[in-house]
Amino acid sequence: MDINPSTAIFAIINFIVLVVVLKVFLYKPVCNMLDSRKQEVVNNLNSAEEAKLEAQKLRDEYAAQIQNARAEAQEIINQAAKIGEQTKADIVTEAREEAARLTAKAQDEIAREKTEALNEIRNEIADLAVLAASKVVGKTIDVADHQNMVNNFVKEVGEAK
């Protein structure tokens, strides 16, 4: 079990050479690759987290917007309904007023016509009566007296009726 110094020295040299060679061809590239991939994974995870938060924010925003829009629509509908109700009430009121006005006008007209007709009839009857009386009596009665008589008669008739 002698130690051969040459072999030992070669072993040392070989080891040092292999350390250098592997450092260049194995450890450096592999470590760099592992580190860069690790960094990439970290970055990807971070950006995914950010994207998730962003999406969450947008979703909340949209939900709020939809809520607002819905409330606004409801308000518009309510307002329209209110306006419609108001308009309906106005129209009905107006129509009622118009109807009442027309009725009143018609009644006035009727009353006026009636009065006019009555007056005309009254005059007619008086004239006829005067004529008939004068024919019966044979003399002319004083027109004024006559008129008075007739008027009284008509009045009585009206009251009796």
């Binding site: 002698d2 130690i3 051969n4 040459s6 292999l18 592997l22 194995l26 590239p29």
Partner: protein, 240 residues
């Protein structure tokens, strides 16, 4: 039979004869095998990380999985920062020792000149343990300073310093010694058992030990790395 005899003979010696020389240094079969293992590791890593994709597949996936497994395990011992800092050292120890251990599974390993599991030789494991020794020393002094390191050797009670200093210094040396011998013993022993079983019956019988060898190879690589990590953790822990 001839081959197993040769293997037995060379395994008995422990050290193998030099194949050739680079300057004054002998190049043995363990070293050439180690070069082969290193070349294989380097090629696999080069191909796996040559064109890295954001979505990994194939070799890249395996490498990333290994590195992540390393980080998750050693973060418990060293903390995430130091696990990353010592990754080149600890992971290289593990990969190199694991592949070296498994190189003994290759056919003709130990008999073919130039192919012998490097960790079955105490010189190689001693070399690795020396690396650990100096790394721990370096990081200890770097973290605590020379004075801090000396204080650590004296121990918490100056009254018994005369007793503690030699013990602590001894501990500094027994650690790499145990690292080297444990790894060498486990792999060399496993190789020896395989060779002996092959001598008894070359067909199927050594397989039982080779199955265990798969387990031992991984366990020994893991133990070496884990102990190194613990030594480094102790060396770089900030004392309050």
């Amino acid at each position: 039979m001839f081959l197993t005899n040769v293997a037995y003979a060379s395994a008995e010696h422990g050290a193998s004869a030099p194949l050739f020389y680079i300057g004054p240094l002998e190049v043995t079969s363990e070293i050439t095998t180690m070069w082969g293992v290193m070349l294989l590791i380097a090629v696999v890593c080069f191909l796996g990380t040559r064109n890295m994709q954001r979505i990994p597949s194939g070799v890249q996936n395996v490498l990333e999985y290994g590195i992540e497994m390393y980080e998750n395990f050693f973060s418990d011992i060293l903390g995430r920062k130091r696990a990353r800092q010592f990754m080149p050292l600890l992971a290289t120890f593990f990969i190199l020792i694991l592949c070296s251990n498994y190189s003994g599974m290759l056919p003709m390993a130990g008999t073919l000149p130039g192919l012998k599991p490097p960790t079955s030789n105490v010189s190689t494991t001693a070399g690795l343990a020396i690396c650990v020794f100096f790394l721990v020393l370096y990081y200890n002094i770097k973290t605590n300073g020379i004075i801090g390191y000396c204080k650590h050797l004296v121990g918490p009670m100056p009254a018994i310093a005369i007793l503690m200093v030699p013990l602590n210094i001894l501990e500094q040396f027994t650690r790499p010694l145990s690292l080297a011998l444990r790894l060498y013993g486990a792999i060399y022993g496993e190789e020896m058992v395989v060779v002996s079983l092959a001598a008894l019956c070359p067909l199927l019988l050594p397989l039982s030990m080779q199955f265990l060898g798969v387990l031992f190879g991984a366990i020994q690589a893991f133990v070496f790395t884990l102990l190194t990590a613990i030594y480094l953790e102790e060396a770089t822990a900030v004392h309050h």
